[in-house]
């Protein structure tokens, strides 16, 4: 069946090529957006599309639903936008997308934007989407080879996200503006979790959410002459219930106040100074029930940060940016009431961040940027039992004194090698050192919680890309990316873990004829997480190393047949080899006919195959017919 389909697609592609060559002469075809739904228009113009999808799936429906968010055999969907501008300068845009599948009421987004040029701007948006979760969750390990199928949750979990946001800004007078807004995010439902109630083939844990997050903010900006300022204050409240099955129940009550102010001064045409400051107060008072523990928690975090910077144009085409930032955060928290504290923490964190960047375009056809960043932080934390740290009534305690220092140097370069080629390169080196000392006084003399001691991380990231236009109508981009990282625990002899990743890619678009465009991309990546000295593990234990190879290729063709007809065909394959073999194949073929000046009908066939040789493999066929217009 698979071979037959590939043969048919190949034959169709050849036919399209022949037709394209014969029909040359019209304007060139454009490369399509291969992820787009049929008839989907996305743009700053008035448009509308109505689509009927017919779903035919085989295999694990829950996994298909998780990947595609499709559950119904028949579904109507639409995407639309309406724009209008009046002579008075007022304008209005209505934009939305929706579908009737899934839960009653469907899912989608709707937004209204309006304003008056140079005067005010108002927006109201609403989004409501379902998230389906695979009932078996993921156990991507060879020891979970199928069959038999893993025990599955029934029904498959689904969680709904609702988001609403309204914002308005008003230019009170030239150089002075105000803005304000509100936002709500509501989560209802359940989601599959990686956590299990037991080892092995157990159903995933279920996380329940019934939360509401509300945010209100106001801000403004003021500019006069060489000075520009802006500010914003916000209030945020998060409430609701969360649960992991029946094992851990949490009632959230979180409040966040925050504010920031900034200013920029154009000292001269070549020097601009920037200063910013921000502060926040977060208070969290959840109630948690976990096993026999039934606790009230009270914690708060007070944070402040400030930054000053200078943007200095040293000469035409050469710029130096300097900045320094400081940050401080104090966290106090306790479990249990004041007269019966179970645990309490006192945590202070201070940090500094210094940055310098020099960029120049003085070299012929070349842009260079050198940057350096130095960061340091100091954490002092004490966690105590039976009392607040320093109160004199606390019992066991553990203290951490941790200094973290990192340096980051980066070079970015871009040069034109000629009329038709540009070379880009980026290299970043990062070194991080953590000096951590823990002291504790516990009844059994053991550390209370895990401590890692001194550590060091070195990381090199490299990226080079060549953009070429080797011939008229042909673009070819070639690239290479690499990451090499080592992580060493200096207090635990012999522990060094590594992360090495390398990827090469090529992207080509060729307007073969005025009617035919061929496009394609290929990438291959290899990733290895290694642990020096890791022992062999038993057959039923998850491996300690993780190696993955991912190959992705995505060829496609777009053909303008003339007289309002066009065809597209795309194929995408992702081959991942890590703990298991993972094949993901997608086909897309569609044809469009502009049957009236502003109306187009589109028919499409899409297929997605997910294959891991396990119980949750599936094949999903989606047939679509849509009518859309651009007005």
């Amino acid at each position: 069946m698979k071979n037959l389909r590939q043969t048919m697609l190949t034959a169709a592609a050849v036919a399209l090529l022949a037709a394209g060559a014969a029909a040359a002469g019209d304007p060139p075809a454009q490369a399509g957006r291969i992820w787009a739904a049929p008839g989907d228009h996305v743009g700053l113009f008035t448009h509308a599309t109505l689509t009927l999808d017919v779903l035919d799936d085989y295999g694990d429906a829950a996994k298909a639903a998780e990947d595609w968010q499709l559950t119904d055999q028949y579904r109507f969907s639409s995407v639309f936008a309406w724009n209008r501008t009046w002579d008075t300068g007022r304008w209005l845009t209505l934009r939305g997308a929706g579908e009737n599948g899934g839960r009653p009421g469907g899912a989608g987004s709707l937004g209204l934007w309006g304003g008056s040029t140079g005067g005010f701007r108002t927006s109201v948006t609403y989004r409501s989407f379902d998230h389906y979760y695979d009932g078996t969750s993921e156990m991507r390990s060879a020891v979970f080879a199928a069959p038999p199928p893993s025990p599955a949750l029934a029904p498959a979990p689904v969680m709904n996200w609702n988001r609403f946001e309204a914002a308005s800004s008003h230019r009170v007078w030239n150089g002075f503006g105000l803005e304000a807004g509100v936002a709500f995010t509501r989560r209802d439902g359940t989601k599959g979790s990686l956590l299990r109630s037991g080892a092995g083939a157990a159903v995933p844990g279920l996380k329940h959410f019934g939360t509401l997050d509300r945010k209100v903010w106001a801000g403004g900006d003021y500019a006069y002459g060489k000075l520009a300022t802006d500010w914003e204050v916000s209030y945020r409240k998060s409430e609701g219930d969360r649960a992991l099955g029946t094992r851990h129940l949490t009632t959230d009550d979180r409040t966040l106040w925050s504010g920031r102010v900034g200013g920029a001064l154009a000292v001269s045409p070549t020097l601009r100074l920037v200063g910013q400051a921000a502060g926040s107060y977060l208070e969290s008072n959840p109630h948690e029930t976990q096993g026999l523990a039934d606790r009230d928690v009270a914690s708060d975090a007070v944070s402040g940060t400030g930054r000053v910077g200078a943007l200095w144009t040293l000469s035409r085409g050469t710029r130096l940016d300097l900045s320094a930032a400081v940050r401080n955060q104090n966290v106090d928290g306790q479990v249990g009431p004041d007269d019966a504290v179970v645990h309490a923490v006192d945590r202070d964190l201070t940090s500094q961040d210094y940055r310098a960047a020099l960029a120049t375009t003085r070299l012929p056809s070349t842009r260079l940027q050198l940057s350096y960043r130095y960061r340091t932080s100091d954490l002092e934390e004490t966690t105590a039992q039976d009392g607040v740290p320093g109160s004199g009534v606390e019992g066991d305690f553990q203290s951490t004194d941790r200094q973290r220092t990192s340096q980051e140097a980066a070079l970015r370069a871009r040069t034109r090698l000629g009329r038709n080629a540009t070379l880009k390169a980026k290299a970043t080196w990062l070194q991080e050192e953590i000096d951590s000392a823990d002291t504790w006084d516990t009844a059994d003399s053991d550390a209370w919680f895990y401590w890692m001691g001194d550590r060091k991380r070195d990381k090199l990231v490299w990226e080079v890309c060549l953009n070429t236009r080797p011939a008229s109508g042909l673009s070819l981009d070639l690239g290479h990316q690499a990451i090499a990282q080592t992580f060493e625990r200096e207090d635990v002899a012999g522990v060094e873990t590594t992360w090495d990743a390398v990827r090469g890619f090529a992207v080509a678009t060729w307007a073969a004829t005025p009617r035919l465009t061929l496009l394609g991309s290929f990438s291959m990546g290899q990733e290895e997480y290694g642990i020096e000295g890791a022992p062999a593990v038993a057959a039923d234990v998850s491996p300690l190393a993780y190696d993955a190879t991912t190959v992705r290729y995505a060829p496609g063709a777009v053909l303008d047949l003339g007289r309002g007809w066009s065809c597209e065909g795309h194929y995408e394959a992702v081959r991942t080899t890590d703990s298991v073999e993972n094949d993901l194949d997608r086909w897309s073929a569609r044809t469009s006919w502009r049957f009236a000046e502003k109306l187009t009908a589109t028919a499409s066939y899409r297929r997605c195959e997910f294959d891991e040789n396990r119980w949750d493999d599936y094949i999903l066929d989606l047939y679509s017919l849509s009518v859309g217009g651009v007005f």
Partner: protein, 302 residues
Amino acid sequence: MMRLLVLIAGLLALLAVAAAAGGGFAERVGVPAGAAYVGSQACLDCHDDAGTFYQHTPHSVERAPIAPGSGAGACEACHGPGSLHVEAGGEGPIFGRAALSALDAEDRAEMCLQCHQDKRLAWSDSPHAGSPTDCAACHTDVVHGGGSAQAPSAFRIAGEFCLQCHAAQAADFRLPFRHRVLEGEVSCQDCHAVHGAAPAAEPLGDLNAACLNCHTEMAGPFLFEHEAVSAEDCTACHRPHGSVNDKLLTQDGNSLCLQCHFEPGYPTIGDVDHGGFLGSEARCYDCHHEIHGSNLNPTFLD
């Protein structure tokens, strides 16, 4: 703190050295000697087609704000003072299309920022600043006509604009586990401040703030923090755009945790023999449930 004071002193010294006459965009790229602002109406005497073209845009002569730096509005805000050009009957110097195209992206951005002051502070810290990307790369219709005054502000359209250049992210959004940007459920702007963001005093740092905006429960503050979350950031374990592993994890299985927590005495970790726990296909987070942080257990156990 001493280093900060030294740096501030250095900046003040720079200020003293570099202080000179201020000015707007035109002064930055070079005003023709003797040129003065004459008002945009003078431009329309000849360029009446441009007046029609911009009529319904924020940049029309009637609606364009006055650039605070120069006092120029509409045409001259971008094209510079026009007196010499007008006096010479259109032959005198002015920043024409060719001159503006020849500017680098930084100066073209400066052209916009002289009026769009509310974006100025953040832009200096934006990844787009200093790149070949200028404002018009995204705000095409606003700058050069079009009917509406809007930018690619939300929903799928925002992602579409971004993915034109960010092809690697477009591929990530096609992986089995992903944030659903292509489907329109999440927008790039939900996480990224494309104009740049001012530093915020978020409880767990600026980078995590993008995640905590929706996943609010991870903000804590917890009595027992996981250092990977609080001192590094969510990307220590998650790939936010897309992954072949569930929950957007960088790796599947226990090797994810062991990248930091492996010890030579494995399966003993932290003085606890995990041999009995790690058999039977178990994974670390089967027991360490509260891995993002806990108020009740120091080792994030149930």
